[in-house]
Point group: C2
């Protein structure tokens, strides 16, 4: 099918292929997504972000009055995805760097609704991830590397089990998914969290379906919400969160919304040659 | 340092970032190589192939009369590498597609000397990998997943231990390096080989320092040399070799040289933005 313009970017090493497609002309089949995301035979990424005007995307046309651009996010396996805290920061950086939006407060349409993002002319990008909730169950056990911990169940759009540990090595090599009891019907991401100082934590994360990853935006948010409760901190509360792929900052606002701030880096641009 | 032109390509999913640098103007530090090969924060590849005229490269100027172009190959960790059977096919495809060489028989300078490559206007590329040798030891044992096999020690530039198995699953998940006795002082690549039919084998490979990989050009050659001896085949002998990343063809010539044939695909081209 010839060649296709792309940009590659990442946020704390959660990486994406961006495809500029303002008019919605691209037929982005699962096979094309898989080919693009293949780390050896393609460009390689955790997912694809198609950059399309909301008015030109069936999934977003209802949001077009509020948000000019729609983040059409696909997982590396070709499936549709709703939202990604690292992806939307990279997406916003692209819009500003390309001159498609002015720096400032942007509203971006996603399959999880319109998201509010703050982006400057350079540097970090902040996204309002919405409120965190505690859907339960109240008693959660996580088992890995022959150890068992109690976990806090937090939802930030998707479900998380947050475990406080003394040392991130306690979780072992995390080659397999930790066992979680009770079983979450749709699976659960597991964060292992250690204190690094006042309002400063570090974490490792095992994402359902992906294994251990370099970063998870919702996981960082869930970890901070759990840590703020453990620490008895009044809201608004801001924490620095070190993830394997870099550093994020998370603020739980007084209204319960969680803001995720961190780097959004465009790495390369060019044309991909598709057979 | 601004932006840098690149092409990404692969041969049976052994992938490379090619950097056109005919005049040898590029200061390719280990840090730059690591940044380019980083699969999340960079473009991602198994290695970098700098495309430089032999006359402009200190390592190749002595070969300039015989070979116009030097394949300056670096491993993903930034270290120098001598040769790569999959890499040189991709390199040759780039030279021809860019019009830097005519299709036909090319001589390409490498740190392992001048290599002869056959490349057409499209399709597979063949490289003469030189002679295979049997440096010993004669009695080699390989252990993985609780099983032990006898192996054949074959060198194709680098050392290999070739194990014939009934089923590729016998080797288990290969998360750790197989144990090899006696110990090879510089390490050894291990191939697990199964018959798929007449002069047709399939293999899995564990490469020293890299773990299980999608393909290994010298490993495919070593496996065919071992299989041809087991099968009592007269030379020249040609085998089809299925590797996890695709299909190769290997011919052991009557003069003992081993020819490796397979795909060489250019995937994308563009500019990488370096901080």
């Amino acid at each position: 099918m010839g060649s296709l313009a792309f940009v590659k970017g990442h946020g704390t090493e959660n990486d994406f292929v961006l495809l500029p497609d303002p008019d919605g002309a691209l037929d982005l089949t699962p096979a094309v997504v898989r080919a693009l995301c293949d780390r050896r035979a393609g460009i390689g990424a955790d997912g694809v972000l198609r950059v399309v005007r909301s008015e030109n995307a069936a999934d977003a046309v209802a949001m077009a009055a509020e948000a000019t651009w729609f983040m059409d996010y696909r997982n590396a396996d070709g499936s549709l995805a709703e939202m990604c805290g690292n992806g939307i920061r990279v997406y916003a950086r692209f819009l500003v760097d390309e001159g498609l939006e002015q720096p400032g407060v942007l509203r971006i349409a996603t399959r999880d609704g319109v998201k509010v993002v703050r982006v400057g002319t350079a540097g970090d990008v902040t996204v309002d991830m919405g409120p965190a909730t505690f859907p339960g169950p109240d008693e959660v056990k996580v088992r890995a590397s022959g150890r068992t911990w109690s976990a806090t169940s937090v939802a930030v759009g998707n479900p998380h089990a947050v475990v406080m540990v003394d040392d991130l090595d306690e979780a072992g090599r995390l080659r397999d998914a930790p066992e979680v009891e009770p079983v979450f019907p749709d699976g659960v991401n597991v964060e292992f969290v250690v204190s690094r100082g006042e309002r400063h934590i570090a974490l490792r994360v095992h994402e359902r379906g992906s294994g251990e990853t370099r970063s998870c935006g919702t996981g960082a948010c869930a970890a901070v919400v759990a840590a703020a409760r453990r620490d008895g901190v009044a809201l608004p509360a801001s924490y620095v969160v070190d993830v394997p792929g870099g550093r994020l900052e998370v603020t739980e606002r007084a209204d319960g919304h969680v803001e995720l701030t961190g780097p959004a880096v465009l790495v390369a641009r060019g044309d991909v040659l598709l057979a």
